[in-house]
């Protein structure tokens, strides 16, 4: 069975840049071939999953306010099926780390991540979450959340505009669409 082109509503696949490894991954899948029933089932599940990603806003600082703005009427995160922000990690699919993570917060971030149910994803929003940002020289700042938990998508900006947040979240959707759910391939 052919692995279908990844289709994201609102943005053509060619518009996504700097993420070729997803294409390579798709190539690999095509070469190996997929059983029809399982493949179709995967497609269906992934279509559902990627269009209802429930975020957990781990908002510590400024980026959290931009996340709120993204949830407002003007930008409307609901267009992507992500308006259901869950405050409990057990009900969330993706954790949006929005803001600086400091030494005192690091164990709690890890704990919240561990409490989330598989499959789970992490989006690092803003330069603080990516690398420590403007506070990288500080004694109390963790230099990027990827020191603590694995990150799927990085969204640069200080803070990123809601549009960039959406771009990042669509990248995540794209990633989810390629995953095989029923028989998980080893990564």
């Amino acid at each position: 069975m052919e692995v279908k082109k990844i289709y994201i509503k609102g943005i053509p696949n060619e518009e996504f840049r700097d993420n070729e490894y997803l294409e390579k991954y798709a190539e690999e899948l095509r070469a190996g071939g997929v059983p029809i029933v399982v493949g179709a089932l995967d497609d269906l599940i992934n279509w559902g999953r990627s269009n209802s990603v429930w975020p957990l806003a781990f908002a510590t600082s400024c980026c959290g306010i931009e996340f709120m703005a993204a949830a407002g009427a003007h930008f409307d995160i609901a267009r992507f099926g992500m308006e259901v922000t869950r405050n409990s990690p057990r009900q969330a699919d993706t954790m949006v780390v929005a803001g600086t993570i400091v030494h005192k917060m690091a164990p709690l971030l890890k704990r919240v991540y561990d409490q989330m149910a598989e499959p789970k994803y992490v989006v690092a929003m803003g330069s603080c979450a990516i690398s420590g940002g403007p506070f990288v020289d500080s004694y109390h700042v963790v230099k990027g959340v990827d020191e603590i938990i694995p990150v799927d998508v990085y969204i640069p900006g200080c803070p990123p505009r809601p549009e960039s947040l959406f771009y990042g979240l669509m990248q995540l959707q794209r990633k989810i669409k390629l995953e095989r759910f029923v028989f998980k391939v080893k990564k």
């Binding site: 600082s61 400091v102 690091a106 164990p107 704990r111 500080s138």
Partner: protein
């Protein structure tokens, strides 16, 4: 001021008093500090009942603390007390917590940052840092080696015990006290939940659903801005202020710019003053809108949240067209503003004022008159005027308790002495008063913008400054009225292009420190709405 000077010299004859315009600076021995503070606090003419700022300083040889005192009767009068100790191994000073409640958290902060312990402070845990942190970051000889303080990912149990040093007739006595009683039922609120408005952690002892006691844990977003600033030049520090209280980004930055300009004696062009004032007021509207929206959201009104964010987007668009930034605008620079305003700025702002007035009536119709909303706000979270002053609660929350504390009125900066506006004061002291204050202040801000928007003069928007700005030796204070209250900047300069010590007075810290008091005896669900009415921003507290 002569009067105060004589009171000080009568109480402590050997104190060194220096007068500079409005501010009296008093250097006092550490044993005499508490006596002097008590005299000033309870003197009959002008009781200095408001501790505006408490700053720990590493003076090289000695470690010291600066207290900026003011009186609620006349906030223009200020006295600075300076005290220091030369024992760097085990520095001890006397606490002033019994005189001003706000000193409690500030002294704990000084302990975490500089290692000074305060005798008679009932709870001497470190405020921002974990209790096992090695070293004291704001000391000049602090070792920032990450091996000493590695990132730990295992959670640890919180021990509810606090060390303290008490003065007894037999001498100083160190002991450890339990924070909660033995059979208390304790729950954690925060640090990761939207209803705490950020990463605040409250440990709460409950009796059924009644709050018995609250223990505040902070520091989950402590980024060490004050230490970072000591290595950066003044224009480089500016961007940190935007990220403190991100909802009043422009105002915070304005305060630091004013402090540097005052010290370096830079004259600001008229046009820049107009632009700054208009931007500050737009920022205040923005901040109050978020405050209103998130408070309504805490009470379950999601529609109100969507409305507030929708209106705010109009301001953000004006910000974006002017400066390129939405939330963090990075607009003020030393000597003026970074860019000129765009051509249609006036038109856009006027359109916004008309739009916002309509929306305000809608807000009142939608939420203010709602029976459930009134039931959840009226008579809850009573903060008396005396407590507001003692805890240093300013801004809409302080004015909801009848404490007239608007910096724009008593210490006018920029163009606030030229415009006509009303200081919104209510005396109901409850959550509803704070809520209504915020909406009324939006109206006042629109009124201020209206008076300025048509009169923006032509000319430069930025004064020419030297490439490297060096401040003369000395200590400089500046304050501004941010969305949440008095935002203060303290710079100690040693004639260099870097500050020797930079401290920000955060209005939110006072708002949080008062939470254990006003939530005692309230229901757990009302704790959230009272927190919403105090409207604190956590990165502003932790810095």
């Amino acid at each position: 001021m002569e009067n105060i000077k004589s009171i000080i010299l009568k109480a402590v004859p050997e104190a060194i008093v220096a007068e500079d315009k409005q501010i009296l600076t008093v250097i006092v021995e550490k044993d005499k500090l508490h006596h002097l503070a008590k005299t000033l606090r309870y003197n009959a003419d002008l009781p200095f009942d408001y501790l505006a700022m408490l700053t720990g300083v590493d003076r090289g040889e000695t470690l010291g603390v600066n207290y900026v005192l003011s009186s609620s009767k006349d906030l223009t009068k200020e006295v600075v007390l300076q005290v220091s100790t030369d024992d760097r191994q085990n520095p001890l000073l006397y606490s002033v917590t019994d005189l001003w409640e706000t000193a409690h958290y500030n002294e704990r902060e000084v302990y975490a940052m500089l290692g000074i312990r305060f005798i008679n402070n009932p709870d001497m845990r470190r405020f921002f840092l974990n209790s096992d942190w090695r070293g004291f970051p704001l000391r000049k000889d602090y070792d920032p080696d990450p091996i000493l303080n590695p990132v730990v990912v295992e959670s640890k149990e919180i021990e509810d015990i606090a060390p303290r040093i008490m003065e007894t007739p037999q001498g100083l006595k160190e002991d450890i006290v339990e924070i909660f009683e033995k059979d208390d039922y304790i729950i954690n609120v925060g640090p990761q939940h939207p209803s705490t408005h950020g990463v605040m952690h409250f440990r709460m002892a409950l009796d059924g659903e009644i709050v018995k006691k609250i223990d505040v844990h902070s520091g989950y977003i402590h980024r060490g801005i004050e230490k970072l600033s000591e290595k950066l030049t003044y224009p480089q520090i500016l961007h940190f202020t935007d990220r403190l209280d991100y909802l009043s980004a422009s105002i915070n930055r304005h305060a630091l710019c004013m402090c540097v300009e005052k010290a370096a004696q830079i004259e600001i062009p008229e046009r820049a003053q107009y632009i700054r004032t208009i931007m500050d007021e737009l920022n205040r509207v923005d901040s109050h809108l978020i405050g209103w929206a998130s408070m309504c959201m805490d009470l379950g009104a999601t529609t109100a949240f969507i409305y507030g964010v929708r209106e705010r987007e109009h301001i953000l668009q004006i910000f974006e067209k002017t400066s390129g930034g939405r939330l963090i605008v990075n607009y003020n620079v030393v000597g003026g503003v970074m860019f000129d305003i765009y051509n249609d700025f006036q038109k856009d702002v006027k359109a916004f004022i008309i739009y916002m007035r309509e929306r305000l009536t809608e807000y009142h119709r939608l939420f203010t008159g709602n029976v459930i909303a009134i039931g959840r706000m009226e008579g809850l979270g009573i903060l008396s005027r005396e407590d507001a002053i003692s805890y240093g609660v300013t801004g809409p929350a302080g004015r909801g308790s009848g404490f007239s504390c608007d910096v724009r009125k008593y210490h006018p900066y920029a163009l606030y002495d030229k415009v006509e506006f009303k200081e919104v004061i209510r005396t109901e002291c409850d959550a509803f008063a704070r809520y209504k204050n915020r909406l009324d202040e939006i109206e006042e801000s629109l009124h201020i913008i209206e008076q300025l928007i048509d009169n923006v003069p032509d000319g430069d928007f930025q004064a020419k400054t030297k490439a490297i700005i060096k401040l003369p030796e000395g200590e400089f204070y500046q304050k501004a009225e941010a969305g949440r209250g008095e935002f203060g900047v303290f710079i100690e300069s040693r004639g260099d292009k870097f500050p020797y010590r930079l401290k920000f007075r955060s209005p939110s810290m006072a708002a949080v420190s008062v939470m254990p008091l006003i939530c005692k005896g309230e229901k757990l669900s009302d704790f959230i709405s009272i927190g919403g009415s105090m409207d604190y921003v956590i990165p502003d507290i932790d810095r």
